[in-house]
């Protein structure tokens, strides 16, 4: 048990004081410790949460493995827990999708990573730098694009981007180079002299993305980058994000699932403030009990008894379709049924039209997870 003086001294110079006496954990920073009213009942529950920026050795090791490392992040708004014990990692060079229904805590997490909010407890590091202790250095390494893309309507596009470049520390020749590059990359060359207030939604999103790209940050954090765009613009944005994923690490938050399927390498699903799934896409679709469904369509009718005799066949559903039958064969094991079904088809002379595995779409997966049909697991922390 530390003496009071020692705790105060260490507390003031080293770490964050957390008092868990209040129902909401609070942090007091930058007040000299002597000004914090200390009651006897608080004494037992003052604890130092974490050390100074001096334990960067561990952070550097983490940076080699994962660019974004979030552990036990919690955010309370009063008594309401927006996110609770959120932990995930984003490896270098990957595109990670951050999925969740509305109100799940996606925007809160991204705002904490970008430094706009402070977490109630937990730790987040980007590129080895702690988001709380070294906020300015972290913000230099992030390109953040908030939801609804706020811009200044009375500025022109090039003027706005030049202003943002100046804020991020780019001046002179380098600023002009990056400006030209970013205007070309985001297809904004035609509208450089147009007032931002007169742009359509697609162009505004592009300006926001261009702003995030300006300082060539290693990490891009995009909050719903394709919200409100029409299909052709969405395709263009997706292509752009895929291209950018080759050079940057991207964390995209969205609730458009086909987009996640097409652009992201792995996905983190967050629901009611907790991470319910965090894995690569392939693993996710096979998570639902390792069941796969094979759909067989053939002309005429098919004798199903021979299929049931095959090993590894679970359920078998048959329905008539115009000019034929459709069978859904559910496997109940890891064994591949498709080759043996093909053999059976040849043997029995089915007139096969289609034989395909029905991949459970991410949307079904998502809805089932979110509606609690599949229990939430936090097992796979590495996405």
């Amino acid at each position: 048990m530390n003496t009071l003086a020692e705790t105060y001294f260490r507390g003031y110079f080293n770490s964050i004081r957390v008092c868990s006496y209040r129902p909401v954990p609070c942090r007091v920073r930058l007040l000299p410790a002597v000004l914090i009213p200390l009651r006897r009942k608080h004494l037992g529950c003052w604890q130092t949460v974490r050390g100074a920026p001096g334990d960067s050795a561990r952070s550097e090791l983490q940076a080699e493995v994962a660019v974004i490392h979030v552990s036990q992040l919690t955010k309370y708004y009063g008594d309401y827990a927006a996110i609770r014990d959120v932990s995930f990692e984003v490896p270098r060079g990957k595109i990670v999708g951050f999925l969740g229904p509305n109100g799940a805590g996606k925007t809160t997490t991204l705002r904490i990573l970008a430094g706009y909010l402070t977490a109630t407890s937990g730790q987040a590091t980007i590129d080895g730098l702690d988001v709380f202790w070294q906020p300015v250095e972290v913000r230099r390494r992030i390109g953040y694009m908030p939801e609804n893309c706020p811009l200044y309507p009375e500025m022109r596009v090039a003027e706005y981007l030049r202003f943002r470049a100046g804020i991020k520390g780019l001046h002179g020749r380098r600023c002009r180079q990056r400006l030209d590059y970013v205007l070309n990359r985001c297809w904004l060359s035609e509208v450089r002299r147009q007032l931002v207030g007169t742009l359509s939604k697609g162009y505004r999103q592009r300006v926001g993305l261009a702003d995030a790209l300006l300082a060539d940050p290693p990490v891009l954090i995009l909050d719903e980058p394709t919200a409100g765009l029409d299909p052709s613009q969405i395709r263009a944005s997706r292509a752009l994000i895929r291209e950018l994923g080759k050079e940057h690490t991207i964390l995209v938050s969205t609730h458009i699932l086909p987009e996640v399927e097409m652009t992201c390498d792995s996905v983190i699903i967050i629901h009611r403030g907790r991470v319910v799934a965090s894995s690569s896409l392939a693993e996710l679709t096979t998570r639902a009990g390792a069941e796969t469904v094979i759909v067989v369509e053939a002309e005429g009718s098919i004798a199903t008894e021979s299929i049931r005799q095959l090993a590894g066949v679970g359920r078998l559903e048959s329905e008539p379709i115009p000019n034929g039958t459709r069978l859904r064969v559910t496997t109940d094991g890891p064994r591949e049924l498709t080759p043996r079904l093909c053999d059976l088809a040849v043997q029995q002379g089915w007139k096969l039209r289609e034989l395909r595995p029905q991949r459970q779409s991410l949307e079904e997966m998502f809805v089932r997870i979110v509606e609690d049909e599949i229990p939430a697991t936090n097992s796979a922390r590495r996405a």
Partner: protein, 371 residues
Amino acid sequence: MLLAVRATESLMLAVLGLAGLLIAGIAIALIVGLFQARSLLRKEFTAYFISPVAYVMLVVFLAVLGCRFYLALDQLTQGGSQGIEFPMQYLFSILPRGIAGSKAWLMELFSSQAFWVVYLLIPPLLTMRLFAEERNSGTLEVLMTAPLKDWQVVLSKYLACFAFYVILWLPTIVYLPVLLDFKQVEWQPAWTTWSILFVGGLGAVVLAGLLTLLPLGTAGRLSAGLILAAGAACASIGGWFHYHTDSAHVVEVIAGIDPMPVLSTYLGLALAGAMLLAQGMLVSSLLGSQIVAALVSVLLNLAIIVGGLLPLVIDTGGTVSKILYSFCVPLHISQEFGRGQVDTRHVILYGSVALFCLFLTVRSLESRRWR
């Protein structure tokens, strides 16, 4: 006894020297930080000229001030017992003066209070959009996730606002030759070290101004800034010593009325403006909507003007009147700064309130991250 005096003197000098070093260090840190945020400063300053509010404010302000100037001129050109020794005092007075003569109708129209009411409405209108608009449109999030510290953001906005306030007052320089009754401007070839230093300093300032217009890089702008600072220092030191110690001056300006109260009036107005703008910015950063911020700011400014409206009806020797006088800006400007009297009580009031409001604004911005 003598040794004791010397000891305390040297101790005082040491303490003052340390304080000076500390202030210089802080000033350098602030200037470096502002230099990093120069893009934000420039954008905020130009944003004033994009919106029509600023232009309307300029027109109304200069119109009211112009009427006051006309009245002051009218009074100045009357000889005898109605002539005025301190034109700035008359220009900014808040206590109504009995005016006889043909201009009484104008006096009725633009009574003493009108100018000050307009003046106290201006800082709220200038500062209401600083933080409230950013919060409403969501751009505060983008600003606070940029690699800038909170105090850099607050100081950039504040300085841009103050620069616009200075521009608001710049056209009144035109009144000076008339108000001060410049009779004659003579140039004499009185070249001493101080006068050469003075003229050289002025030349360096002009040169630095021209250098900033050229498209040079960061090094060029830094050197221009250094030349400007060095030139200003040389000009002020040289000018001061030249004015006071040399017998013949390079430029002889014969003014009918002492020009020094003009400088003190501008100083008082600048400091009072600094205080009001800082207070307006604090209110804007705390409140959500622009109109509410403007109205609360106007309400706080009314406290400043009430001391000038009441002396006719309350006992001016009593305690209440003294308390009201201590923070009544119009009375300070007209009774003291206008007569050339720079009272450090008022200077400290304006400066400390401005610094305190700036500090609170930085803290309020930081507290946004904690919610």
